[in-house]
């Protein structure tokens, strides 16, 4: 095994938007980093993002503000996100978007030459900056260009095609106190370990490398690979998260899984029809065979088709029990489709053989985003000193339900914030030794069972009986993925209420006593500690 002592470098695992943002921030602060990813950044899920990124730029004369952005984000998350963190992120959002512009992102422009903004779900103001309907790809290209410069200058080392295997630890450093622990009053046993690196494996050669650095930032994306059909990338397998869970890293809010209202089955997974379609005027309707019911507009006169995703997905779910539901973009001016939704029109033509200018598309809710993930403080540090998390793998900003456009923001801002927080370790001399625990090999094929079990019971609508049976079924499985899956179900069962994306038909009301986050971690082997 090769041992690379990365001196005082910070190790970033995951090279999507959050990982790139962290690397760029560190370089600005004069700290070098190693950027590890299973696939090159160009292939990360972030390139798939379509609709845009939120920031209260307030260029439309609507009186938008960061405070309103905060309020809408916190409310859509049903009041359980980290309030301080959300406030900081929404306040920083305009600068984040301007910084992206300074890196060359080709945002659409309005008639005044400003970055154009569109409407997005759950928000009363035009607040979503976009690059047609390929926002993720355009933002990623610009940040990759910047990281390429840093690579050439020797400030970032990119090791693409490397899988995360496990974390390296060394003795705790007494002077450094994890501030995440300040928020974690629910958890009594504070972690004494200090994370100083990672074991990674080259996917092409099989060679394992022990990377010792001064701190580690996890930016491994969402938990898509633990479920059957999602809109996400197949590169986001959830394996890294399952390994962290096995190591005793605390997770939060796992029961909150975002179903995007408008997805279609394609290529053996779900294809997204971006919220941008409705942001630009697309309408949902149910087809009774005789006429069309514009059920969202009828029931929610103010926001109509742009209600938050949890609400819209549920409405579609129940409506589909009676009638098929369609998304109609055929009334949109051709110019809007060509200038703002070109990518979406292209995808529908290629994969669904539909001309969206002429015909509606039948849609159904599909898994799209994980509000839950690694538990951190507002500074993005976990309970393990020197271990940080950012991007979709980190549960911090979105509470029980994420607003569209807030996760690109959370990834860029979170990567930056994690990097700035990790700076406090940057000058700590590398430990000469670091230990790790060889992870167990998961039995072949078990992940298929885990995916089926979770997907079956963690739908748009859930019930206790089915989830208890699923928990029972998981008992026969032994992989770390199965242990992790248990935590999802325990959190979902424990939360005997309906909040945001977690809707239980046996407890359909939101209950005040549950207005808090769910916390899950492994204690003594496999059991999951107090979900709350």
């Amino acid at each position: 095994m090769d041992i690379i002592s990365a001196d005082n470098k910070i190790i970033i695992i995951g090279a999507g938007l959050a990982g790139l943002s962290a690397a760029i921030t560190l370089a600005k602060e004069g700290v070098d980093s190693v950027l590890i990813s299973s696939h090159p950044s160009e292939r990360a899920q972030s390139v798939m993002a379509e609709g845009g990124i939120n920031a209260a730029l307030n260029t439309k004369g609507e009186g938008d503000s960061s405070e309103k952005h905060f309020e809408e984000t916190f409310k859509a998350g049903r009041f359980i996100a980290d309030e301080k963190a959300v406030r900081e992120m929404t306040a920083a959002a305009p600068d984040v978007v301007k910084e992206l512009e300074s890196h060359g992102v080709c945002f659409n422009r309005d008639e005044n030459g400003n970055i154009d903004l569109r409407n997005f779900g759950g928000q009363k103001y035009k607040r979503t900056a976009f690059a047609k309907s390929d926002s993720g790809k355009q933002i990623m290209t610009a940040l990759i260009d910047e990281v390429r410069r840093l690579e050439v200058e020797g400030k970032v080392e990119r090791l693409s095609s490397h899988d995360f295997v496990t974390l390296l630890f060394s003795d705790g450093d007494k002077q450094l106190v994890s501030s995440a622990a300040d928020n974690a009053d629910e958890i009594s046993d504070r972690d004494k370990r200090r994370c100083t690196g990672a074991l990674v494996r080259n996917r092409y050669t099989g060679e394992t490398i022990k990377l010792i650095g001064s701190a580690v930032i996890m930016a491994v994306g969402g938990l898509h690979g633990l479920f059957e059909n999602t809109t996400g990338s197949l590169t986001d397998t959830g394996e890294a998260a399952a390994e962290l869970f096995r190591l005793g890293v605390t997770f939060a809010d796992l029961e909150f899984i975002q179903y995007h209202p408008t997805t279609v089955s394609s290529g053996g997974k779900r294809m997204l029809i971006s919220e941008a379609a409705r942001g630009e005027g697309g309408r949902l309707f149910a087809d009774t065979g005789k006429d069309r019911i514009y059920f969202m507009e009828e029931k929610y006169p103010e926001l109509g088709n742009l209600m938050p995703r949890d609400v819209t997905s549920r409405e579609i779910f129940f409506m589909r029990k009676k009638y098929p539901v369609y998304l109609d973009m055929s009334d949109l001016p051709e110019e809007i489709i060509d200038k703002k939704l070109a990518g979406l029109a292209r995808d529908c033509a290629k994969y669904l053989k539909k001309d969206i200018k002429k015909e509606p598309v039948e849609v159904a809710p599909g898994i799209h985003y994980f509000m839950g993930g690694i538990y951190t403080g507002a500074d993005h540090e976990t309970e393990i000193k020197g271990l940080f998390a950012a991007g979709e793998c980190c549960a911090l900003y979105h509470g029980a339900n994420r607003l569209g456009g807030n996760s690109l923001l959370g990834a860029v801002y979170g990567g930056k914030k994690a990097a700035l927080s990790a700076l406090r370790y940057a000058n700590v001399k590398c430990t000469p030794y670091a230990y790790y625990e060889e992870p167990p090999v998961s039995p072949a094929g078990e992940i298929t069972a885990v995916r089926r079990i979770l997907s079956d019971v963690l739908g748009v609508v859930r019930n206790g009986e089915a989830m208890r049976a699923a928990l029972q079924e998981l008992e026969s499985l032994s992989s770390k993925e199965a242990d992790f899956a248990r935590a999802f179900l325990q959190c979902a069962l424990f939360r005997e209420e309906s909040r945001g994306a977690h809707f239980r038909e046996d407890f359909p009301e939101e209950r005040d006593e549950y207005r808090r986050r769910s916390i899950a971690k492994v204690v003594q082997g496999v059991s999951v500690d107090h979900p709350f």
Binding site: H39, P40, E42, R43, A44, Q45, V47, M48, E101, S102, H103, G104, C106, R109, G113, A131, K132, D134, K137, Q138, T141, A142, D145, E146, R148, R149, E151, V152, R158, S160, S161, Y204, S233, L234, T235, S266, G267, G268, K269, M271, R346, D347, K350, Y351, K353, A444, G445, T448
Partner: protein, 228 residues
């Protein structure tokens, strides 16, 4: 629709083709077919086919391979396009082979470094060239254009069209010519002097990027020093 699929299993010596039949819808993609095969193989306990994929929707460039001899993305190649019912899958041939359908395409990323595809100074965003910069930033880095290029060989100096396609957005957003000094030298040496203008790259691009147009714009800026 039934198709007979031959997949080159190259890591085993001697190389051989794995042959199987797949019955699916005409609209099924080759990527869907491969996923299906691997799921079945997993449940049978058989060896899977090694290949790379991510988005399954033509956005990440991971799944590039030779399909009936033509470099394409498996997730945007559909069964109905192969009416004769025969599909041969092989790895790209211009890049170091890893396993089955996987090749190491680091050469694409190295090429972009070699011609300085990054902003060496402040970025000047001009609405007039926004559309072309957008096209330039849409490159999937899949390597299909390099696979068909008669002059490109991985490990050698010539970068192929990725340099011109991606270089454009840098050239077009430079705040003054001085910023492009190093890039112009590198571009001439590693791209311009090696291009034989076969333009095979233009037709093959799976992202539908107007490659020829971006090449001529990049040449104008980076060889002749014009504003683009």
């Amino acid at each position: 629709m039934k198709v007979k699929v031959n997949v080159l299993k190259k890591q085993i010596s001697p190389s051989h083709y794995l042959t199987f039949e797949y019955e699916g819808e005409p609209d099924d993609s080759v990527a869907k077919l491969l996923r299906y095969y691997n799921e079945e193989a997993l449940s049978r306990g058989d060896e899977q086919i090694a290949w790379e994929c991510g988005c399954m929707i033509n956005k990440c460039g991971a799944c590039a391979m030779r399909i009936n001899g033509v470099p394409r993305l498996a997730c945007s190649s559909f069964l109905y396009e192969y009416e004769e019912g025969k599909i041969i899958l092989e790895p790209l041939s211009k890049f170091p082979h890893v396993k089955d359908l996987i090749t190491d395409r680091s050469a694409v990323f190295e090429a972009l470094k070699r011609v300085n595809v990054y902003h060496a100074g402040p970025v000047h965003q001009d609405e007039k060239n926004l559309e072309s910069r957008f096209e330039s930033a849409s490159c999937l880095n899949c390597g299909c254009c390099l696979e068909v290029c008669p002059n490109f060989n991985s490990g050698q100096n010539y970068t192929g069209a990725v340099a011109a396609v991606n270089g454009y957005r840098i050239a077009a957003a430079a705040d003054g010519k001085a910023q492009l000094k190093e890039m112009r030298k590198a571009y001439a040496k590693h791209y311009y002097e090696g291009c034989g203008i076969s333009l095979a790259c233009h037709d093959i691009c799976p992202a539908g990027i107007p490659v020829e147009d971006l090449i001529s714009r990049s040449n104008a800026a980076l060889v002749w020093g014009r504003r683009v």
